[in-house]
Structures are given as structure tokens and as C-alpha cells.
């Protein structure tokens, strides 16, 4: 494409100063709730967002589920039961305190969202009489119809509703400003957080925020292993703007990180459109699947026994409740909450032609309410599906008559439920997810005083309701903290250093551009830090990343503020990759829970490694440490979730 005149005023080197009580970094679901909650507590709040707050973030393109709303009037599972079951199913590698907060306050958070104009109950009586509807409250449930902890929602307008609320409450929203560093007292990592720097990705203007409290709300990192070439960003289910900015900034500020060694397959490595292919998982849980001749692929309970249609949505005999794989990592680890699943012998049956490919999602054969819940309610409101629904309908797809095909891949792939909804996974392509993040205390504060966290940047598994609820909780905590905090003192040398770091990419017109740098980072991670690892290859990978930083990155070129932002993302990704490798070197045992395998440490999940390995910056050193998996239930904290919640939530004992 030919060069054009840059359409925005160029303000390189100009500086804007903003002073506030609470600064929220990232305007996704967690960030919006954090800002709203802090503003309601009377704090002055500023929010910086790389994209457009009205739509951006992982949850910006819609949501169809509100998970773990254990205090809704129909739920039969307590927050303690849900939290302990999920933590156990993840082998203990989960932030139980965040999970508990979600279970306790998630439903209240949803009611607030309803006040903002998001439809969360079937007020039009479209699903009157459905098995999953409560006739009194008109709430619709998903997965376990007996225990009713997950609520179906019409969340296509979630972000516009949150955005309107931010504006109504007077939050100062800075769109198109990416955060580039968290400022600390005297510029010392680990000392109190006092603000952040930012860069406008439209004008190139430099921003300096000073704040009494900072809430970090940027999720983990996309794109460390998988390159946007040749398929572009569009194939991915996760926000392409989240490029490790949060992890890298938290690390540089001295926060303690953990579980960076945990990785999982990239969703949609091959670019199948998530949710727009036949599947039976997550949003499509319970869908009838048939083979190419119309033979039904059965559903089975945790004992491996076939179950009738209704059993897909009910716990097994003798089971209190089940948790679907969409809510947590892989419930197959735990018999106690094992969900109804598609034929567990499907792979071998495909191999011996008992089922003949392709498989289809047989929506036409399903009861009308179930069909409309999947295609109409959920596919139309879930992330990235509002336009998909129109495209499919516009192309003549009618769920009453048409069966959507499941992607065709190797037989073993069908035995791995999560891959169905986005097509086969490529072993070498990984992503950080459902693990990596910052360690927090019961106030959701990191080990850096004044630096709070919310959403997926907190270690462990995240989802929409978890982001919303932890945001709301962290906003409250940060506003209270800010009331008693001293005035922030910005270190001008730190600011100057940061400004120089950013603008150096404008100089060298012959330097590489961001896409090539990104491709290089991806190749290093694919080759030296994929599923199977060894100290020798990890160390070579670390060296190569550092080489890219010193050579290609430091000479890289950005012709405009947009590309300048993308180059800075490469810097964040390089830093994140380094932390991933250092964390992988520090865990000297394999773990099935973490999808972490070392050739040189082949023992899988030995008891002595059943702990969190932590990493943080201390001056110019990197410090490796460890924490018990349930550190949040050990001194100085109380031994029960409930007691800690009462002590720290700033709400006191909750209503029963």
C-alpha cells in the first residue's frame, strides 16, 4: 500500500501530566469495573486504554455466560464448595482467593451490570417453560441445570454499557494511550507504585500519570509463540492488543509473578473461527453430535456410562454438581466435578470407522429452547459472535434444518474437548494462559505497595465474571487505600529514561519493523520453549531473545505512532518471553497440571514441586522464590476463605 499522510496531529516529545487518586491501567472488563467501583467510593479515577474503552478487551466483543454466580437465588452450590472444587481440579495451581471473591460477589456484580442496561434475564419470555429457566426470576442457566451457578446473559452490549457508566461517574478515560511503565517511588522496583507512563498510539504524545493507587488490569500475553503471519490477528479468540504489557510492566515494577511456566495450546492456531464450527463444548455444551451417516455420538457420565439427553445437563448419580470445562481448566482431572462428556472412546471409534467423519452439530434434532439458547442467544452475544450470527444467517444457515460441520483433524484430537470449538491445535504453538500472573494478597494488592491487580493478570484461571468481580473488588480496595496514602512522588529521572526508551524507535529508518521482530520472537519460543523443554535449549533460547533485544529491537524502526506502539509491544513480549524461560528453568520437575515437560526433569508432579515458583526483580537481579499453593489460607491469613473475606473485603460478613 502506498504511503499516506498520517491523519492525526503528531506530538512526539510533547508531554501530558495527569494527577489522580486511582489510576486504572487497561479498559477491558476488569478495568471498567475497577474504575466504576473506585469512582463510586468517591475517588478521582483515571483510566488509560490502548484501544477504545467502549469496545476493547477480551470481553469487549460480547459475552454469553456469567460463571460461578453462587449467590444467585437459585444456586445450590456454596462459594466454598465451588472454590475448593475448582482449585482441586486445577491441582491447586489456582488463585483460590480470587475465585472465592468471584463466587461471593459475582452475582451482585451482575445485578449492577443489569442496572447499566445489559439484559441478564429472559424478560421477553422467549424461553418460557425451558428446563434451564427459573420462572420466578426469569434467569437462564447453563451447564448444570440442577445446581444453577452459571447464568446465560445477552452480553453483546456489555462494554458500551460499562463505558456509559464510566462517563456518568466522571471517570477520566484516556483512550488510545498505552501504558508503557509503572512508576515507583524513587524509581526503585518494589517500592510503592506512584503512577505510570503512557504513549498515545495516534499522536505519539507522552503521558505521565501520578496516582495514589494503581490498578493493573491488562491480561497475560498473546502472540508469544504464534505469529500474525500468515493469517493475521483475526484468527485468534483473545485480544491481539494484549501483548504481555501487563506482565512485563508488573515485573519491572518489582511485583512477584508466578506460573509463567504454564502454557496451553493456542486457540485457533489454524484460523478456524471460534464457535462457528460444529462442537459440543463451552457455549455449545450439550449439543447433539452425529457422524456423516447420521449416527449419534453419545454422551457419557463420569462412570463412562451412556446417559439420556437430559443427563447432559445434570450431575451424575451420587454427584453433588459438575463444572463444565468452559468454567475451569480441565475438569477431567477431578472425578468429583467431572462433567457429562461426548463419548470418551471417540478417537478409537473414528479410527475403526464406527463413526465416519465428518461430524456435525445436529442443532435441528435438539429441543427448540436448547437450539435457540446455543444459536441465537449465545451465538449472537458471546465474544466475536454478533456479526458471525448475521453472516451465517445471511448465507442461508438455518439451525432448524442445517447441521454445522466439526473441523476434520486427527482422531486423537477429538478426544481433547477444548480443541473442537476452534479446530485442531498445533503442538509447537503455545500460549500463556490460565496460569501466569501476579501474586496478590486478600486486598488484591501485589507485593508492590499501592499496586493492585484485577482480571487475568492475577495468576490462575480467569473468565469474564472473574474479571468483572475482581475489578469491582480491587477498585474498592484501591479507593480506600488512596484515602490514607501519602502524595505520590514521581522520580523525574525515571520519567526521562522512559521517554528516551520509547522515542528511540523513531530514529533508525533502516531498522526492522515490528512484524519481523515479532516473527523472530515467535520462532525462538516455538523452538526453545515449547511443550518439551530442556535446560540447554532453554538457555540458548534465553540468549537468542537477549540477542534480539540488543540487536534487532534496539535498531527497530516505527514510521508512525501506531507502529511505535507495536514495537513497544515487541519489547514487552521479549521481556515476557525471558520471564517465561527463567520460570521454566526454575521449575525442575515436569507437571501435567501445567502442561510443562522437561526432558531433563522427567518426574511428573512430584510432591516436593507441588508449589508456586515465583519470580521477581530485585534491583538488577532476578529473584526466584516459592510459595505454598494455598498461601492465601496460611498465616498471616486465616485458614478459611470465609474468615479472610470477612477480614479483608471491606464489606464485612456477607448476607446469607
Amino acid at each position: 500500500m502506498e504511503s499516506k499522510k498520517w491523519p492525526y496531529p503528531v506530538k512526539y516529545g510533547r508531554e501530558k501530566r495527569i494527577d489522580t487518586d486511582v489510576l486504572v491501567i487497561g479498559g477491558g472488563i476488569a478495568g471498567c469495573h475497577a474504575a466504576i467501583s473506585a469512582a463510586k467510593m468517591g475517588a478521582r479515577v483515571a483510566l488509560m486504554e490502548k484501544g477504545a474503552t467502549k469496545w476493547s478487551g477480551n470481553g469487549g466483543a460480547g459475552v454469553d455466560h456469567w460463571q460461578a454466580a453462587c449467590t444467585n437465588p437459585c444456586c445450590k452450590v456454596t462459594p466454598e464448595e465451588m472454590t475448593s472444587a475448582v482449585v482441586e481440579s486445577l491441582g491447586g495451581y489456582e488463585c483460590g482467593l480470587k475465585r472465592f471473591i468471584q463466587c461471593v460477589e459475582g452475582y451482585d456484580t451482575l445485578l449492577e451490570v443489569e442496572q447499566m442496561g445489559v439484559k441478564v434475564r429472559d424478560t421477553d419470555d422467549e424461553f418460557r417453560g425451558a428446563e434451564f429457566r427459573d420462572e420466578k426470576t426469569k434467569l437462564l442457566f447453563a451447564y448444570d441445570y440442577e445446581n444453577r451457578y452459571t447464568i446465560r446473559v445477552w452480553g453483546h452490549n456489555m462494554k458500551p454499557a460499562l463505558y456509559n457508566e464510566l462517563i456518568r461517574l466522571g471517570v477520566a478515560v484516556y483512550d488510545r494511550v498505552m501504558a508503557t511503565s509503572i512508576l515507583t517511588d524513587n524509581g526503585i522496583p518494589g517500592s510503592r507504585a506512584v503512577g505510570a507512563t503512557g504513549l498515545s498510539v495516534r499522536t505519539g504524545e507522552f503521558y505521565v500519570f501520578s496516582a495514589k493507587a494503581v490498578i493493573l488490569c491488562i491480561p497475560e500475553a498473546e502472540g508469544l509463540w504464534d505469529s500474525p503471519e500468515p493469517h493475521g490477528f483475526g484468527r485468534n479468540f483473545h485480544d491481539p492488543n494484549c501483548r504481555g504489557d501487563g506482565l512485563a510492566m508488573a515485573f519491572e515494577a518489582g511485583a512477584e509473578l508466578t506460573l509463567l511456566e504454564k502454557t496451553m495450546p493456542t486457540d485457533s492456531s489454524l484460523g478456524y473461527v471460534p464457535y462457528a464450527v460444529g462442537n459440543a463444548h463451552n457455549t455449545w455444551h450439550g449439543c447433539t453430535i452425529v457422524d456423516s451417516r447420521g449416527l449419534e455420538v453419545g454422551w457419557f457420565d463420569r462412570e463412562g456410562s451412556p446417559i439420556p439427553y437430559k443427563g447432559r445437563f445434570l450431575p451424575a448419580r451420587g454427584q453433588k454438581f459438575f463444572v463444565d470445562g468452559g468454567s475451569i481448566g480441565d475438569p477431567r482431572n477431578l472425578y468429583r466435578i467431572y462433567p457429562p462428556v461426548i463419548d470418551p472412546k471417540i478417537s478409537q471409534k473414528i479410527r475403526c470407522l464406527e463413526y465416519v467423519l465428518p461430524l456435525y452439530a445436529d442443532l435441528p434434532s435438539m429441543p427448540e429452547h436448547e437450539r435457540n439458547a446455543i444459536f441465537g442467544l449465545m451465538i449472537r452475544n458471546e465474544g466475536k459472535t454478533f456479526e458471525l450470527y448475521n453472516i451465517l444467517r445471511g448465507s442461508g444457515f438455518d439451525p432448524k434444518n442445517c447441521m454445522l460441520q466439526v473441523p476434520i483433524f486427527e482422531p486423537e484430537g477429538y478426544g481433547q474437548p477444548p480443541t473442537w470449538w476452534y479446530g485442531p491445535a498445533i503442538p509447537k504453538l503455545r500460549r500463556i494462559g490460565r496460569g501466569a500472573g501476579v501474586v496478590v494478597n486478600w486486598e488484591l494488592m501485589t507485593c508492590v505497595e499501592g499496586l493492585f491487580a484485577a482480571g487475568s493478570i492475577i495468576f490462575g484461571h480467569g473468565d469474564h465474571a472473574g474479571a468483572a468481580t475482581s475489578g469491582r473488588y480491587a477498585g474498592r480496595q484501591a479507593a480506600i487505600y488512596a484515602k490514607r496514602a501519602n502524595e505520590p512522588r514521581i522520580d523525574e529521572r525515571e520519567v526521562k529514561k522512559e521517554e528516551e526508551r520509547l522515542y528511540r524507535f523513531l530514529r533508525n529508518k533502516d531498522g526492522l519493523r515490528w512484524k519481523e521482530i515479532l516473527g523472530g520472537i515467535n520462532r525462538v519460543m516455538q523452538d526453545y520453549c515449547s511443550v518439551y523443554k530442556h535446560e540447554t535449549t532453554l538457555r540458548i533460547g534465553l540468549g537468542l531473545l537477549r540477542n534480539i533485544r540488543e540487536n534487532e529491537l534496539s535498531n527497530a524502526h516505527a514510521p508512525n505512532p501506531h507502529e511505535l506502539g507495536r514495537i513497544i509491544e515487541c519489547d514487552f513480549l521479549l521481556k515476557t518471553g525471558e520471564i517465561v524461560i527463567l520460570s521454566s528453568l526454575a521449575r525442575k520437575a515436569s507437571s501435567s497440571y501445567l502442561s510443562f515437560y522437561r526432558f531433563d526433569c522427567p518426574q511428573v508432579d512430584p510432591p516436593e514441586w507441588h508449589k508456586l515458583v515465583t519470580i521477581r526483580k530485585d534491583g538488577s537481579d532476578v529473584k526466584i522464590g516459592e510459595l505454598p499453593l494455598d498461601y492465601y489460607l496460611k498465616p498471616p491469613y486465616a485458614s478459611s476463605y470465609e474468615e479472610n473475606y470477612v477480614n479483608y473485603s471491606k464489606i464485612g460478613r456477607r448476607k446469607k
Binding site: W55, S56, P230, F233, Y272, V273, I391, C402, M403
Partner: protein, 106 residues
């Protein structure tokens, strides 16, 4: 037969991705402001359609379409994605997939 040959750029990735229907677009730039990735840039000529400048950074989220008051934007899923969204008509056995060659609709 047209015997003219031209040197034309050959987009290696997803080509267009987003199509702005010029006859419907009022040049209000709401889509420019909705896009998380700045895929669009505003047209320097006031009232003219924005330019899709970074198509390979499009996330296919459809937020620009939600924001457009004039139905002037179409999401053109690339062929490798569309061809995999296919279905069988239960009655006729006919196989179909997402097509976007029609000018209107999707």
C-alpha cells in the same frame, strides 16, 4: 480480451477484510473510533469513507459494524475461514458454506 497488464500490489494476507460500502457511508468515523486496533484511519477529505489501512490487524470482532448507524460496513471473512464454516442441509444433504460475493447482506 483486456490486454492491459499492470503492476498491482498483491496482499499476502487477508486482502480486504473490511468493506465500506461507499454509497451508504456518511463519513462519520464512528467505526474509526470503535476499532480497538486502529485498523481504520479517517479520510483526510471530510465526509468521505475511512480507509482500511491495517487489515491484517483486524480481529474480526465486528464492533465497527455494531457501531455503524448506516449499515455501511461488511466483514469479509477470508476464504480459509469461510470455507471451514460449512453445513449440511438435513433434508437435501446439500453442503453449503459462508459466501460473501453478493454485494448486499453478508
Amino acid at each position: 480480451m483486456n490486454s492491459k497488464a499492470v503492476l498491482a500490489p498483491s496482499p499476502s494476507r487477508n486482502g480486504k477484510v473490511i468493506e465500506i460500502l461507499e454509497e451508504k457511508c456518511k463519513g462519520c468515523n464512528r467505526c474509526v473510533e470503535a476499532c480497538r486496533s486502529d485498523v481504520f484511519i479517517p479520510n483526510l477529505k471530510k465526509g468521505k469513507p475511512p480507509i482500511v489501512f491495517y487489515p491484517e490487524e483486524c480481529w474480526y470482532c465486528g464492533c465497527c459494524i455494531q457501531e455503524c448507524k448506516h449499515g455501511a460496513i461488511r466483514l469479509l471473512l477470508p476464504l480459509y475461514q469461510r470455507i471451514a464454516i460449512n453445513w449440511k442441509d438435513k433434508a437435501t444433504g446439500e453442503i453449503n458454506y459462508v459466501k460473501i460475493n453478493k454485494k448486499k447482506g453478508g
